[in-house]
Symmetry: D2
Subunit: 374 residues, 4 copies
Amino acid sequence: MSVRVALFGTKFMGKAHSQAYRSVNMFFPEAPRVEMKVIVGRDPEQTKEAANAYGWEEASTDWRAVMHRKDIDLVDICTPGDWHDPMVLEAAKAKKHIVCEKPLGNTLEEAMRMAAAVSEAGVRHFLMHNYRRVPAVTLAKKLIDEGRLGRIFHFRARYLQDWAMSPELQMLWRFDKNLAGSGALGDLGSHIIDLAHYLCDDITEVSSAMATYIKERPAVPGSEEKKPVTVDDAVVMCVRFANGALGTLEATRFALGRKNHNAFEINGSKGSLSFDLENLNNLDFLSADDNDDVEGFRRIIACSKGKHPYADHWWADGHILGYEHSFTHSVNDFLTALASGGEVHPDFEDGLKNQKVLHAVEKASRSGRWEQVV
Amino acid sequence: MSVRVALFGTKFMGKAHSQAYRSVNMFFPEAPRVEMKVIVGRDPEQTKEAANAYGWEEASTDWRAVMHRKDIDLVDICTPGDWHDPMVLEAAKAKKHIVCEKPLGNTLEEAMRMAAAVSEAGVRHFLMHNYRRVPAVTLAKKLIDEGRLGRIFHFRARYLQDWAMSPELQMLWRFDKNLAGSGALGDLGSHIIDLAHYLCDDITEVSSAMATYIKERPAVPGSEEKKPVTVDDAVVMCVRFANGALGTLEATRFALGRKNHNAFEINGSKGSLSFDLENLNNLDFLSADDNDDVEGFRRIIACSKGKHPYADHWWADGHILGYEHSFTHSVNDFLTALASGGEVHPDFEDGLKNQKVLHAVEKASRSGRWEQVV
Amino acid sequence: MSVRVALFGTKFMGKAHSQAYRSVNMFFPEAPRVEMKVIVGRDPEQTKEAANAYGWEEASTDWRAVMHRKDIDLVDICTPGDWHDPMVLEAAKAKKHIVCEKPLGNTLEEAMRMAAAVSEAGVRHFLMHNYRRVPAVTLAKKLIDEGRLGRIFHFRARYLQDWAMSPELQMLWRFDKNLAGSGALGDLGSHIIDLAHYLCDDITEVSSAMATYIKERPAVPGSEEKKPVTVDDAVVMCVRFANGALGTLEATRFALGRKNHNAFEINGSKGSLSFDLENLNNLDFLSADDNDDVEGFRRIIACSKGKHPYADHWWADGHILGYEHSFTHSVNDFLTALASGGEVHPDFEDGLKNQKVLHAVEKASRSGRWEQVV
Amino acid sequence: MSVRVALFGTKFMGKAHSQAYRSVNMFFPEAPRVEMKVIVGRDPEQTKEAANAYGWEEASTDWRAVMHRKDIDLVDICTPGDWHDPMVLEAAKAKKHIVCEKPLGNTLEEAMRMAAAVSEAGVRHFLMHNYRRVPAVTLAKKLIDEGRLGRIFHFRARYLQDWAMSPELQMLWRFDKNLAGSGALGDLGSHIIDLAHYLCDDITEVSSAMATYIKERPAVPGSEEKKPVTVDDAVVMCVRFANGALGTLEATRFALGRKNHNAFEINGSKGSLSFDLENLNNLDFLSADDNDDVEGFRRIIACSKGKHPYADHWWADGHILGYEHSFTHSVNDFLTALASGGEVHPDFEDGLKNQKVLHAVEKASRSGRWEQVV
């Protein structure tokens, strides 16, 4: 089987997804064969360069036309959030399978519309919460599913970055609610909400507070003209899970020195887990089955062949993987599911569930109350 | 100057405070000379043994009589929480200086009454939040006060233990609201609230959720008879600080593998700090003043002479201190303030402020709303 | 400029180098354009599969013929050690530029012959000690070259693995002195010797001991027939450097739980550095320039744009890299040097110097004396 | 039973041993009762102050007279190394039990003479290698004795400090071979040699190199007059053990940023261990019995009641201990052995064995050969 791909977006995510499509057949030879047909961007010159550099056969600036090309099976959307809705709707209309960057929409309404559209169209859909497929995280899921944590009491997660702390940093699309939907919440918070859903259970209720520490920013670098920041720089949440666990979640762009610190800890009746994306090959696990005298958090280097998810496809034991490999794993699993017809998550339904939490968090931050996720 | 001490309580805290009084003059020869006059307990035999082992001149079971002895200057209360109020009131009446274990009271009303009593009596008072005087924490305070963190955006803290996880563990005073006031909240949460006040700012508003995972416990070990647990096993909080910072705080006795994990991280505009009581000699500090190419959290071993708080009084550089030393430092600082008439914190006013937060947290957990700390 | 490459070897290293050639133009668009012409292996079927999977235009089993093809500029040798010598000599004869896996030869004589051959042929040569181009290691070099460590007193390194510990593991080429030259010494020790040369100075004198813990192994998996292991499982060394520093080096395949633990620490008069390949994005650095009260090893996450080597070519700050990226960096730097005519290291002269140390280590282990590196 | 103690030396070790004698009966009530009779120093005023501060009944400057006092059972020698020999010989003559600081002597001859003297006198003797009784180290020993490491292949240890790096630091007794015997070797190296003997096996053969980086130092602080440093600043060793294991050992006072970094790693066929004195409550242990998918070094917090050595005598689980507690444990174990007549190590025989290694290391550093330990 061969899958012909069109990718929309040439920047950070466009590059990361491209690398996944380039690499998947080399490391996962059983996956369907990828044909990298066309990359779509706004600027003709830049898009052509991206096509050359990343290995796409063609470059295009006409996104709508590409959506309807007959030689395309799969559409991958890596644009800012405000483009997800129109593109997904068009792709569904064209009966293409869809990969979309997270969060699914900029609003709950958009997310509901997109989830409905793909369902009605009968196409396959996948939301790129790539961190589920960091091997250490996939291993965490395995341990939990096998009951090795027992009943879960606590899920605590934080996603900390610091790139937005300078007041001199200019207005970007990520600071504009119309383009990005929200700030740290949607960008970072949606990732840890996805991990909470994946590893713990559905979030049923939330309380929160949000802050915007820098209220306006230069319109362009160095300019005197200021534009208002309309999203959150930081958000804190307490959450309740369907299984009775309590959670604390936090996402911020104002944690000096934390570059990509997406960290969680889970405490269960039989085991505990701890993870940090800045050392993404490690998973710390404590088991109540340990002999009493040697109980402790063990640091697993989650890349040993025959032991750890995806490891058989890469290098020798302990030869660690990087950030980008989570995209390769995601693309492999989605392509494989396309071929087999099997299930694959997170899909747009998972994305919609996530968006309901994002929605409830914003609501709770305004109401000053715990809000149900509905 | 010499200070004659009576100590109330023979168990964990009684032993820890005793070790502080035994040691303080050896390591802090400038401190007033301690006379360990009398230890008071309920069981005559056990109290006598404690007196012998810990080095008290006498043992007594008559707490009220001891309070009024003329040869006592300082009263130290290490009993369960329900005894703080009557003992403090009696000690104030007797015009004794008072050291008291935390939290100050089992209720806000008690705490207010105690704070008023010591104030009216004109005696000195000190609340044993000993973690302020772990050298790494004192160093953190110094860095903050010197402006090396800049404006603080985030304070996140967790105090995780796991000793209460077995359903076979019997009913203890710590599980009884009448005796303990609250569970993880007062026992552990009050410590991190104190650190939040010490290191960040006043907490002005809280949201929270509490859980009791094991609802009843054997009346005595192994018994079929069960008694209801009337306190929380775990509590999660979002908080707002007077300085605009956002906080997440969590205290639990159900975090498998975490023994005494009292950890905080603070993110400011110029620096970040991270600490964990399980490695209490370390403080991790990141400074925006670092050269760009070597920015990173540096692990300070906070026991070098001439560099770190209290270090001149102990061993050679890097020869680490333990849990108990925080009590010795606390006792030294309080005794020194007694002699000099200088200020010393945390006192009962700090304890009252802490209790107001505990009160608001319980209220918020019932109301489902953010609650003001008043 | 375009460089036409032939690669020899289809296994672990063949795959790793292939990934580098596939990726270099995407992430380093300024590098000469790579044409992946042909991959050469012993098994026709397997080689064809490798060509398809890795992206080589052709597969071949005739290594000598490929060496002389006119449409090849660069030859990359990823075979077991016993093939380096004949292949390098042939490639030099054919006036091809050469990349070769480490160590350069199986014996000092081979290494001398190869170094002489490339020098006489006037071709460019590069030895794949890829760890020099792990960004954290390149950063270490930069700090040292800028004088931020001052005079170096100590270099200690260990390369620990555990894959050879099972007596049931069969005889492999890596256990056969005729094929591999040596065991842990050449495989792992040569890497840390290269880092010692790169980061500290020339090794002038060595003392050592070697051990073979498992003396014979099954001829094939599960077989009763045994074959003698003729290489070392482990080697320990004390070394002296030209700059007066003292070193301890150790390489072993018998360190249970250590998968790819290539770790070093360097202590100088102004700074210290510590690194571990199992967390290859981190470099720990302590500077005597730190303020006294916050001196400590800081953990640098060595992948921030504008701050760290190679980082501008990859993802966002703190989005970590993996093992394979060191090959991409190596290939980029060699290709760039080809284009510019500039210097690039490690070359075969560096490889020869390394081999002299390997030779002295084996000699010292037999003589029981310190031996000069000559 | 009661033991009447005289202690010789008032400085760092005198204070540390004093604290042990002060504390042992409080935390180990089963131990014989200590009577702190007299402390002996050179300066009358200073010795009196020490007596007061540390809790000794008397102060004396007449060491020889005190040795022969009838009311003394146990003599504890905390002086510089050159005083060990005359004091031990006198104490043995007086039939006192003896605790002595390490290393036993300044020369092999002295150590042999002292070991013979105590043996002939029939008194009990103990060498204060206190690190054996850091609970995590005692736990390591237990795991090894129970076979949980299997056959040991590797022992690597380093003891790194940095206090001697400033050329302005004046001449101290520790820099004078006549007073100290050797430098980093005897001061730090003897500790890791003791741990090697304790945890691995007898060292049978050594190779080494020593360096003195600063050859002369100010006679007194700030003075122009210089005195020659006659000891080593650093020493590196390769060693062979009786059980076939290979070792690397290193001791230095020139490892910038390392304050008290006494660290070892042991690799066996069934398990590996790692320890660092700067976090002395932790022991890292990897077991081959772990499930394959969760194998990893687990970080044990070695202070949980019912699980770890000495923990029952201290605070609650995870309430960590410090440097000084190792002395309290040592004193308890020696006093207990005095009372019971049972064995206790390390004694002077262990000290003599250690001294033979020190001797062989110095010899090897001069000869440039591997030297037998005889």
